[in-house]
């Protein structure tokens, strides 16, 4: 079956006064109908930029220089203005990271949700308003009718994010992109929001792309995971398998860090150095300066994405095959 969303070898550049820089350097992945795909990476990995490019929401300094993004086979880049407006919010909904800045402070939340339906349905006046109340109830906002008349600053962070989710689901999209939806929220609220996203996804049959830096979140929610580093995909595959048996050292390192969060008494493991971004010019494998498993080849030649079968891929020469990590290794570059 054809995937709902196909991202093929996408490269995105940003222009600066000092010249262009690459943010995303050849990323490929698919999303099938109804499935949940997690895109994991640290800052600079290019995950947010990739996600925004699906809706063509790149800032003016950014440009997709090559590759293809197709939704149900239709080329997103080739869409006309009119079709693009249908597409955004209609076929694909998006939830952003910081609900406080994502909502217009001088407009009540109800009308902002109504606005999401503006270009996509023929709901008007009273009908639109009652639909908004319905949506708010669906995202578990108590007393939805009263809440819909509130201003953003009168709601708590969790509540605001629910409003954002309601906005994104207003037109029952086929795909929902959630860009770090819980990062700006309190820990206690994070779990609730994630559960909400999962339930809604199942209820509406919506495919979900969950973007996060936290691998643990993905483990719970997602069917498949795509791990990005420095503008490239370094590993992808079915979630459970990748997490139980990571093939790329970076994935492994992320898991180790996550695992250590809960454990006591063990030496804290942190990936040495700071995350690279696509514009850093690193020879060979982009992760090798921080990699605990690197060998000489890693420094000389960048590995391609190696197909490991069963829908799994990893971009690594070493592939975690019976190698013991050298944890003393890794100097910041």
């Amino acid at each position: 079956m054809r995937p709902l969303l196909e991202v093929s070898d996408v490269k995105i550049e940003f222009s600066h006064s000092s010249g262009p820089s690459t943010a995303v350097d050849g990323v490929t992945f698919d999303v099938h109908e109804g499935e949940c795909v997690g895109i994991v990476g640290e800052s600079g990995s290019g995950k947010s930029v990739t996600a925004r490019s699906v809706l063509r929401l790149l800032p003016s300094a950014g440009k997709m220089t090559s590759g293809r993004i197709a939704f149900e086979g239709e080329d997103v880049l080739g869409m006309s203005e009119l079709r693009l407006r249908e597409f955004r919010g209609g076929d694909v909904g998006m939830v952003f990271q910081d609900p406080m800045s994502s909502l217009n402070p001088v407009i009540r939340v109800g009308p902002q949700i109504e606005e999401a339906m503006l270009y996509h349905s023929r709901y008007g006046g009273q009908e639109a308003k009652s639909r908004v109340v319905d949506l708010l109830a669906r995202v578990q906002v108590p007393d939805p009718r009263m809440r819909s008349r509130a201003y953003p600053h009168q709601l708590s962070g969790g509540m605001r994010q629910r409003v954002m989710i309601a906005m994104a689901y207003a037109n029952e999209p086929r795909l929902l992109i959630a860009d770090e939806p819980t990062t700006a929220l309190d820990v206690t609220v994070q779990a609730q929001i994630l559960r909400l996203l999962r339930e809604l996804g199942r209820e509406f049959g919506t495919a979900v792309i969950l973007i996060t830096h936290n691998l643990a979140l993905v483990a719970d929610l997602c069917d498949r995971v795509v791990v990005m580093y420095a503008g490239r995909v370094v590993e992808q595959g079915p979630c459970r398998e990748v997490i139980s048996n990571p093939q790329h050292p970076y994935t492994w390192a992320l898991l180790e860090t996550a695992r250590q969060m809960g454990a006591k008494g063990r030496k804290l493991f942190a990936i040495p150095g700071s995350p690279a971004s696509a514009k850093d010019r690193i020879h060979g494998c982009r992760f090798h300066p921080r990699c605990a498993f690197a060998v000489d080849r890693c420094r000389d030649q960048e590995p391609p994405l190696i197909d490991l079968g069963g829908g799994r891929e990893a971009r690594c020469w070493v592939l975690m095959q019976n190698v013991s990590p050298d944890l003393t290794r890794g100097t910041p570059q």
């Binding site: 217009n104 402070p105 503006l118 270009y119």
Partner: protein, 324 residues
């Protein structure tokens, strides 16, 4: 109106009263400290000392300054602002008769300025970094620099004298008393040049601030969200950017009221528009102290009220200001 808003306004009004009191006292002292004897002026060149003395008594001019101030303040509280030396009528009456004319002029100018300025700002932003943008910026900045009385002169030369489209001055055509609608038309015809002159200055300011406000708003995350919902550029500008850019404009315009009043003095003089500005100008040369004080106080009150209205509008638009 919400209770919160009313309380807010009430508080600000209360705060304004002591301010006004200080201003009144200081102005009184200032005006009376000036050289020149109003009694002599009033009585005329050929007046006898006895006549001058009579005038002096009538207007309490021979009493100590403090007493005069006291009498003035007392009267003021009762709504009596004295008698105009020149017109021989109560100051209140003289001013209030002319006030509507000035308010009409300032009101229409403000509306023109805000509308045109807003349009200029929106066009500028929608065509960002193009020639249109630069052109509009250039015109806005120039509008701020051009002395309004000179602009008035230029407009008169071109439109009144050259093209004969508009009259050169006054509020109505002399010697005619037109009925109903024709009268309104007549007044409007006389109003256009002065109002436009006054508006040009403000318009530049409005355009500049609104443009900055719009750009600021367009940079915000909720604009990206709006695009993600499928809105087009104009919908984004109108529904999201403009409401968030109104605030700096509102505060600027309110602050400008004092400048507008000053402009009105000059414009009314140039166009012979029968308003408070013209009254003020005349009162100076006639050493008409009561009228002078009266005009000045009314103008200051106007500015205070304008500031207050601005703050109230600000609070009404941005719910965060007073509700929390």
């Amino acid at each position: 109106m919400e209770a919160g808003l009313l309380a807010f306004v009430g508080r600000r009004l209360a705060g304004a009263v002591p301010l006004m009191a200080v201003i009144v006292v200081l102005t009184f002292l200032l005006i009376h400290a000036a050289p020149g004897d109003p009694a002599t002026l009033l009585a005329g060149d050929a007046a006898s000392p006895k006549l001058i003395e009579q005038v002096r008594n009538e207007y309490h001019l021979n009493q100590p300054l403090v007493d005069q101030l006291g009498i003035y303040l007392l009267n003021m509280i009762h709504g009596n602002m004295g008698i105009s030396i020149y017109y021989d009528l109560p100051v209140n009456q003289v001013i209030l008769q002319r006030a509507p004319n000035t308010l009409l002029l300032i009101g229409v100018s403000l509306i023109l300025a805000v509308c045109l300025g807003a349009i200029a700002a929106v066009l500028s932003v929608a065509n960002r970094d193009t020639i249109v943008d630069s052109l509009i910026s250039g015109i806005s900045i120039s509008g701020y620099a051009i002395p309004s009385f000179w602009l008035a002169q230029m407009l008169v030369i071109v439109f009144a004298v050259g093209l004969h489209w508009f009259p050169t001055g006054g509020m109505t055509t002399i010697g005619q008393s037109l009925p109903g609608f024709a009268h309104i038309e007549d007044v409007l015809g006389h109003l256009i040049l002065p109002a436009v002159t006054l508006a040009v200055f403000e318009m530049g300011l409005v355009a500049r601030f609104m443009r900055a406000g719009l750009l600021d708003a367009l940079d915000k995350e909720f604009v990206t969200v709006a695009y993600a919902k499928g809105l087009d550029k104009w919908a984004v500008i109108i529904r999201h950017a403009i409401p968030n850019s109104v605030l700096p404009v509102a505060s600027v315009v309110g602050q400008q009221f004092g400048v507008l009043v000053a402009g009105a003095v000059v414009i009314e003089t140039v166009f012979s528009w029968p308003g408070i500005g013209q009254l003020f100008y005349g009162a100076i040369f006639n050493r008409d102290y009561p009228l002078l004080m009266g005009c000045f106080i009314y103008a200051t009150v106007g500015v205070v009220l304008a500031n207050l209205a601005t703050d109230a509008i600000y609070a009404a638009i941005d719910p965060r200001v007073y509700r929390s």
